[in-house]
């Protein structure tokens, strides 16, 4: 019946693929699937690396592929392929159906796809508006030159990457959307050395949906910041280990909330039974000074989206309000398996991953205090100005490296210290965040988890944790 309506035997980006997509979905439903979802992408990426005073790498890449997900009950089968022909997509549907061992005769109803929601219309010009390799190379070389402020700087690097992703999403609930996503990120790194002393400094900046952003990037300010950080830490002593109060700086300081608490509020963690907050909705899980938000709507932020990878517009989710747990971050499978409503947070690295509940722009809301109020309230402790990466174990314990730290003595910042790590557990640390500053700022990052690496923003104002284990020597 439907084959007569087929106009193309292959997905064509920039064209209407409705008939072909409907046929694929009908095929899956006809074979007994409860739900069929198709995610198709076309990518055009490039990256540039400057080292010292040379461009040492220019790496363009492009590709396309499809991820097809079939649900039967609470089970799902996911197949990814580079073959975007009708035959290739139908073969993938068959494979997913076969994996799920679907044999019953119960058939869901598919009424065809809804009207196409095209979020890409105003974005098609982006590919022509992003900076050229020439522009990028010139600015990166100026940036690495700016890092050469004295002879203690022995290594200078500047890196840029641009990801342009065109997506088509269709599913058996009628969803049919297209979008174009643009992410740009630029980073600077140095290593400083003086006899036996060594230090490093790094900063990364990023945006989404702003083709001109790299041109506006203040590379001088960034270079000064990275240089000063490496110089401040060059002769730093190792920190003494122990329990102490800490003040965490704003911007990337929010990585701790993201890793230690945010992940535990994703429905994938409820599905696994690995979050201590599973049955804590509307209960106090943090100090009353803490309100935490996850959203995908801040214009230009690295984790913002017009539509998530399951075709839903992102919402602003207040996760914690005045210390009370209010919401979990949920995707389609999360809603199906845990009952928590979708929040527009179904995300994946690319077509080869099934979407999962993932954070977007996640931050602790601003409070009333100044940064000085927080530091003045501590007689002996640690100020973590810049955080490195970290991880969270299977039982919720986290560990984060402090890239740039200073001792606090009698309410004042004193000597720089290196080698510090912050160790704890979210449910024990969250009630100890007793003061939040009034200087909320966000920072871009990449988050790796079950559905691959996705762009996110972390953030917070300066916050004070009354007591935490600081690892050192």
């Amino acid at each position: 019946m439907l084959s007569s309506q087929i106009k193309s035997n292959e997905i064509v980006f920039g064209s209407c693929n409705k008939d072909l997509l409907e046929e694929i979905i009908f095929y899956g439903i006809g074979l007994g699937a409860d739900f069929v979802e198709i995610f198709i992408e076309n990518t055009d990426n490039s990256s540039v690396l400057a080292e010292e005073d040379f461009i040492t790498s220019v790496s363009p890449s492009f590709g396309r592929g499809a991820g097809i997900r079939i649900f039967k009950g609470q089970k799902d089968g996911f197949v990814s392929t580079n073959d975007l022909t009708k035959h290739g997509l139908m073969k993938s549907v068959s494979q997913a159906i076969e994996m799920l061992d679907i044999t019953d005769n119960k058939r869901e109803v598919f009424n065809g796809l809804n009207k196409h929601r095209d979020y890409s219309l105003s974005k098609k010009k982006w590919i022509n508006e992003v900076p050229t390799i020439h522009e990028i190379s010139e600015k990166l070389l100026v940036s690495t030159k700016s890092l050469k402020k004295n002879n203690k700087i022995i290594t200078r690097k500047g890196s840029y990457s641009r990801n342009l992703q065109e997506v088509i999403i269709a599913s058996s609930d009628g969803t049919y959307v297209s979008d174009i996503r643009l992410h740009q990120t630029v980073g600077l790194n140095v290593i400083a050395s003086d006899s036996q002393y060594r230090s490093s400094g790094s900063r990364r900046f990023g945006s989404s949906g702003m083709p001109n952003e790299f041109r506006l990037w203040d590379h001088e300010k960034a270079a000064n910041d990275v240089f000063e950080s490496s110089m401040n830490m060059l002769y730093a002593d190792y920190v003494d280990a122990g329990q102490m109060p800490v003040v965490l700086a704003n911007k990337f300081g929010g990585v701790i909330f993201h890793e230690a608490c945010g992940h535990l509020l994703e429905t994938t963690q409820i599905e696994r039974g690995t979050t201590p907050f599973e049955n804590k909705l509307n209960e106090k899980i943090a100090h009353e000074s803490v309100t935490a938000i996850d959203e995908g709507i801040s214009e230009g932020s690295f984790g913002s989206l017009s539509v998530d990878d399951e075709g839903m517009e992102p919402e602003k989710s207040v996760l914690i309000k005045d210390g009370i747990l209010k919401k979990f971050i949920s995707d389609r499978a999360g809603e199906l398996r845990t009952g928590h409503k979708r929040t527009g947070s179904g995300r994946r690295q690319n077509y080869s991953f099934a979407a999962a509940s993932r954070m977007r722009n996640t931050y602790i809301a601003k409070g009333e205090h100044s940064k000085e109020d927080l530091i003045n309230s501590i007689s002996e402790g640690l100020y973590c100005k810049s955080m490195g990466g970290g991880s969270v174990g299977a039982t919720g314990q986290f560990n984060f490296a402090v890239e740039e730290g200073y001792l606090i003595k009698n309410g004042k910042l004193t000597s720089p210290v290196k080698g510090a790590t912050l160790i704890g557990e979210a449910k024990e640390v969250m009630p100890k965040i007793s003061m939040c500053g009034n200087d909320l700022e966000l920072a871009p990052g990449f988050c790796g988890s079950i559905s691959g690496s996705v762009n996110v923003t972390v953030g917070q104002p300066h916050i004070k944790v009354d007591s935490i284990t600081v690892g050192g020597r």
Partner: protein, 450 residues
């Protein structure tokens, strides 16, 4: 298109674009994986992937590169055109050539080719494993992280001077991470990973037993006092440390100024004389072995540390030329060619050095900390500075009895660690990342919360 057809297609398109010199690396894979949750299939996954990376040299001998998953005739043409454009920005400061060893004979391990067992069998095997693991101890309540997968892939390298290499192989992996809970105690978790050439080769029973024993052994825990301790590194944890600081042996890292070594470090004493370290990608126990690297250079066994002294660095074509030596088979194809180790083998050297041989993790009755597994490597290692501060799973031993450590980090300096090795046990153990005996180190800082 198969790999021969791709080579022909690239050659034709390169001729059309007047590109005389090119090479490419490609991989094609079919992967199948399953996860379960309390006896039910959770996610079943299959993927077909193809990746092609093409390099071209322009008339100024500058290199450009492009990577694509579109291996159609038009995709290949587009990739060559993009690589040609990128070559205008090629690195003028460091040239890249074909590996002089790209046509040398390669050693391919003789492994019987496995066929896919299929999703249904993978699912059955994993379901059974989950049940057995949960039933192995009353405190084990779930296996939240689990998976069984099998992959079948082919890798190819070819260049415009007629080099052509390809090999295909299969690999399967099983991981089981259990979660144990007891009243008034924190949940504890541990697990095990096993690899095989095919799903039928994986020792599922030993994976279950190992995951169960490890998890149960962490049920009784206590915090540890912050102090310096005598440490015994498990083979896995010692290999983790060596891999994290492998930039010490990496010529690319040395050139880039991010290594603790420099071009004159060959012969430098960096550890106790009793220590030998090799990189041996072709080792018979290495399931993930590859007979050639991204530039087509044959993989080989290479001594990195000989009796405590740096013996060799690992190289790509360009780093080898700068160091006036030959490539070692450790290159990864890219715009900037990367260099990385394959499979580390740690050994005690044959000479009788002054080691404290009474230190044996199974018999020693004094106090020591056993580090089973190091975590958060990406966050806690400063490879260019030599320092580390890493959370770990392990136990403290006193008077022959052990108790799990609740939460702690070990911190130190890699040079200090290597110089303060006080014993290297005799028997080696095979892990997923290499082979090593247990290694004892004196006086490392541990932060606990006692």
């Amino acid at each position: 298109m198969n790999s021969r057809e791709i080579t022909t297609q690239i050659s034709k398109a390169a001729d059309f674009l007047n590109l005389k010199k090119w090479d490419y690396g490609a991989s094609f894979s079919n992967d199948y994986s399953v996860q379960v949750d309390k006896g039910e299939a959770k996610q079943l996954k299959a993927s077909q992937k193809q990746i092609l990376t093409i390099r071209v040299w322009n008339q100024s001998n500058l290199v450009g590169i492009t990577t694509t998953s579109d291996i159609s005739e038009s995709g290949i043409k587009k990739a060559l055109k993009q690589a040609n454009i990128a070559s205008d920005f090629g690195n003028k400061n460091e040239s890249t050539e074909f590996s002089p060893l790209a046509k040398d004979p390669i050693k391919v391990k003789e492994v019987k080719k496995r066929n896919p067992v299929g999703i249904k069998k993978l699912l059955t095997l994993l379901r059974e494993a989950e049940v057995k693991l949960v039933e192995s101890h009353e405190s084990i309540k779930s296996v939240p992280y689990n998976g069984l997968s099998e992959s079948f892939f082919e890798r190819v390298y070819a260049n415009s001077e007629g080099a052509f290499r390809s090999y295909s192989k299969s690999q399967a992996a099983l991981y089981l991470y259990a979660r144990a809970e007891e009243k008034n105690k924190k949940p504890r978790s541990s697990g095990s990973v096993k690899l095989g050439y095919g799903a039928d080769d994986i020792d599922i029973e030993s994976c279950i037993k190992e995951a169960s024993n490890k998890t149960i052994s962490h049920l009784n825990y206590s915090s540890i006092k912050t102090d310096k301790y005598l440490i015994c590194f498990s083979p896995e944890s010692f290999l983790t440390i060596i891999n994290a600081f492998s930039s010490m042996f990496n010529a690319r890292s040395i050139i880039d100024g991010v290594s603790l070594s420099n071009e004159n470090s060959i012969g430098e004493e960096i550890s106790t004389e009793a220590l030998n370290i090799y990189d041996d990608g072709l080792h018979e126990k290495n399931i993930s072995s590859s007979p050639f690297d991204g530039e087509g250079t044959p993989t080989k066994r290479l001594c990195l540390i000989n009796r405590g002294r740096i013996e060799n660095f690992i190289h790509s074509e360009s780093t080898a030329r700068i160091f006036k030596t030959t490539p070692t088979g450790h290159a990864g194809l890219g715009s900037k060619v990367s260099v990385s180790p394959d499979w580390i083998v740690v050994e005690k050297s044959e000479e009788n050095f002054d080691l404290k041989t009474s230190l044996d993790h199974s018999t020693y009755e004094g106090e020591f900390v056993y580090i089973e597994e190091l975590n958060a490597i990406h966050a806690g290692v400063r490879a260019s500075q030599g320092s580390f501060s890493l959370p770990f799973d392990g136990w403290i031993y006193k008077n022959g009895k052990k108790i799990s450590i609740e939460s702690a980090t070990v911190a130190g300096d890699i040079k200090y660690l290597l110089k303060n090795i006080v014993n290297i046990e005799s028997s080696q153990e095979v892990t997923t990342s290499g082979i090593s005996p247990h290694i004892w180190v004196d006086e490392l800082s541990i932060t606990g919360d006692a």
